[in-house]
């Protein structure tokens, strides 16, 4: 095997190709919780919505910053928690709900 097949990055988020170096750099530049990392790197915002990367990053940040996972401001998931084709959303029907109408995020 040649050298090139040995030099792979460490991928933390496969959806958005975020690497361990990206995460460590963001921490060194002052990101102290997951909300910050998410906004900076888009972690957790790809098609799998953080199912792989968030547990990895929680471990990395907890160790690096000496914090407990619950102190890392784990981002609140929002609907839709999984990607939905726009063509389906366009076929939504109007449902009269109690209160003043349209749906909102819970």
């Amino acid at each position: 095997m040649g050298e090139e097949v040995r030099k792979h990055p460490i991928i933390i988020c496969r959806c958005r190709d975020v690497t361990l170096d990206d995460v460590l750099k963001a921490i060194d530049e002052g990101c102290e919780d997951l909300e910050c990392i998410k906004r900076r790197l888009g972690l957790g915002m790809g098609p799998c919505q953080g199912r792989t990367c968030i547990p990895l990053v929680i471990g990395i940040m907890a160790r690096r910053l000496g914090k407990k996972p619950d102190e890392l401001l784990i981002p609140k998931p929002r609907a839709p928690v999984t990607p939905i084709p726009v063509s389906l959303l366009l076929k939504s029907v109007d449902v009269k709900v109690e209160g003043e109408g349209g749906d909102e995020n819970a």
Binding site: I10, D17, R51, L56, S87, E104
Partner: protein, 503 residues
């Protein structure tokens, strides 16, 4: 597109204990080439069986990607299917003539004429219990609720019911009413036929609950339409995802979750690799190694960072008989290969788990399995407003719950791996407890049988099943997040639930 490996037949035709029931032959296309699979296979499985293991290039770095979790939890197996990009090929069944194409980086915006044609959303009101997830917990919950006359809607992400039971080929321990003596996939068959025989249970396959909304509406996305569901109660049993590790090359095709390999091998009868390195010597790592050996693969070694094997003795003894090398006090340093795994380097660690320079070993292999545990898939529960907390013993973020498995969102219950990682038997017990809780709360327990059965299950679960020292860790974790009704009321005061069920 990366260079293709020589095409081969990865299907397992002879197996010492399993016979694979294959459906009728189905022809479809990958990049214009005809691929033959069998009805009931996923696209990812059928491609893999034919030797295609790279389905896309990643969006920003152009890295090769293929199968990883095989159960629709990650984003590795994306391809373009009938013009629709980002399709999870592992949970998409093959169909005659379906056109699968390699996805080169970021998807194009689908045109108005191509791709999916949506049907009108269906509004489902008046259902008593919405069960999210058709694995062991969800099916047990559905059966318990439906038995007492409640109407049940099951939404299941996969195109088959049964969750991860369908890839479990080992026999269950325990008594007959806990399915002792049956293999996991047989348990799934029993649960499924029971559910299918109940007229007050409706099942939606390839359907994902995507959010909780005002006034207790739940959004469900099906394959060709949305559903808007207004249930009286919700039982969430969405399962778990595999944990991953950070090492160079950890995204190469050929690095796979142990569960992903079990899906290929045990469910579809497809050999996931010829020469395998397994990372993690817990039960899953050791069981998957044994199953690989039975299926005809060579297990090059099992890597374990601790000084001892984590698996229960009964499982560890099986691989010992085969002489599989277990590298204790070792970790994986990197994986190498061009576009797919060609080998891995492992390294010894010191007592602080730090790699010891100079102690590296190169291991040529074409498959590296990550068997380092699962993490509960609780995103939907957190979106619903259920208070979650990080519990390492349970694999990650889990909801706080009462002993009856109700979360801080009234009328929203949890069961199975999403309530904290254990295994299929506890998942079924929790599912039944959650189902019975809905019965009791709905006022459908006329004779008091449901309440009585629930107490008996709770007693068995906590005092007998979880009394075993081998599950002490999970028990400790579950104790941490199980609170009294009074405590839950206090939690609800400080974290007001945005939606409420159960009225």
């Amino acid at each position: 597109m990366p260079g293709m490996p020589p095409l081969k037949d990865r299907r397992i035709w002879e197996h010492p204990i399993l016979t694979f029931k294959r459906g009728r032959r189905v022809k479809f296309y990958f990049n214009g080439n005809v691929v033959e699979g069998y009805e009931g296979e996923s696209i990812a499985a059928a491609l893999y069986a034919a030797g295609y293991d790279v389905f896309s290039r990643s969006p920003y770095k152009g890295r090769a990607r293929g199968a990883f979790c095989m159960i629709g939890k990650c984003s590795s197996c994306f391809a373009v299917v009938d013009g629709v990009p980002n399709t999870r090929t592992c949970v998409e069944p093959i169909r005659e003539g379906v056109k699968v194409e390699f996805q080169e980086g970021l998807a194009e915006i689908p045109s108005a004429t191509g791709g999916l044609e949506g049907k009108d959303e269906e509004v489902i009101e008046g259902v008593d219990v919405l069960v999210i997830g058709g694995g062991p917990a969800g099916l047990a919950a559905a059966i318990a609720a439906a038995k007492h006359g409640l109407s049940v809607l099951i939404v299941n992400e996969h195109f088959k019911l049964g969750g991860q039971l369908i890839k479990q080929t080992h026999k269950f321990f325990g008594s007959k009413d806990l399915f002792g003596g049956l293999r996991g996939f047989q348990v799934a068959e029993e649960l499924e036929s029971k559910v299918r025989s109940m007229r007050n249970v409706r099942v939606l396959l390839q359907a994902t609950a995507y959010g909780f909304f005002r006034d207790g509406w739940v959004g469900v996305a099906g394959k060709d339409r949305l559903y808007r569901v207004k249930p009286r109660f919700v039982i969430a049993a969405p399962g778990a995802a595999e944990r991953h590790l950070a090492f160079p090359g950890n995204d190469l095709p050929g690095v796979m979750g142990a569960g992903g390999a079990q899906t290929l091998m045990n469910e579809y009868g497809i050999l996931p690799g010829d020469e395998v390195l397994v990372v993690g010597s817990g039960n899953v790592g050791v069981i998957v190694s044994y199953q690989l050996l039975q299926a005809g693969a060579k297990v090059k070694g099992i890597v374990e960072i601790l000084p001892y094997i984590g698996a229960w003795f009964v499982h560890a003894a099986k691989i010992r008989r085969y002489g599989v090398k277990v590298y204790t006090r070792h970790t994986i340093k990197e994986v190498w290969g061009k576009d797919r795994v060609e080998g891995a380097t492992i390294v010894r660690v010191d007592e602080h788990f730090k790699p010891v320079p100079g102690s590296e070993t190169d291991i040529p292999c074409d498959l590296v399995l990550i068997a380092v545990g699962l993490t509960p898939d609780t995103r939907l529960l957190a979106q619903a407003g259920a208070v979650v907390t990080w519990v390492p013993e349970l694999g990650g973020l889990v909801p706080i719950r009462t002993k009856y498995l109700e979360t801080s969102v009234p009328g929203l219950f949890i069961a199975g791996d999403a309530s904290g990682i254990e295994e299929a038997t506890t998942a079924m017990i929790e599912g039944e407890i959650a189902g019975l809780s809905a019965v009791v709360r709905a006022g459908a327990d006329d004779a008091g049988n449901a309440a009585e059965r629930r107490e008996a299950l709770l007693k068995f679960l906590w005092d007998e099943y979880r009394a075993s020292p081998v599950v002490a860790k999970a028990k400790a974790g579950k104790l941490k997040v199980t609170v009294s009704e009074d405590e839950m009321e206090r939690i609800r005061v400080s974290n007001p639930p945005p939606v409420r069920f159960g009225s």
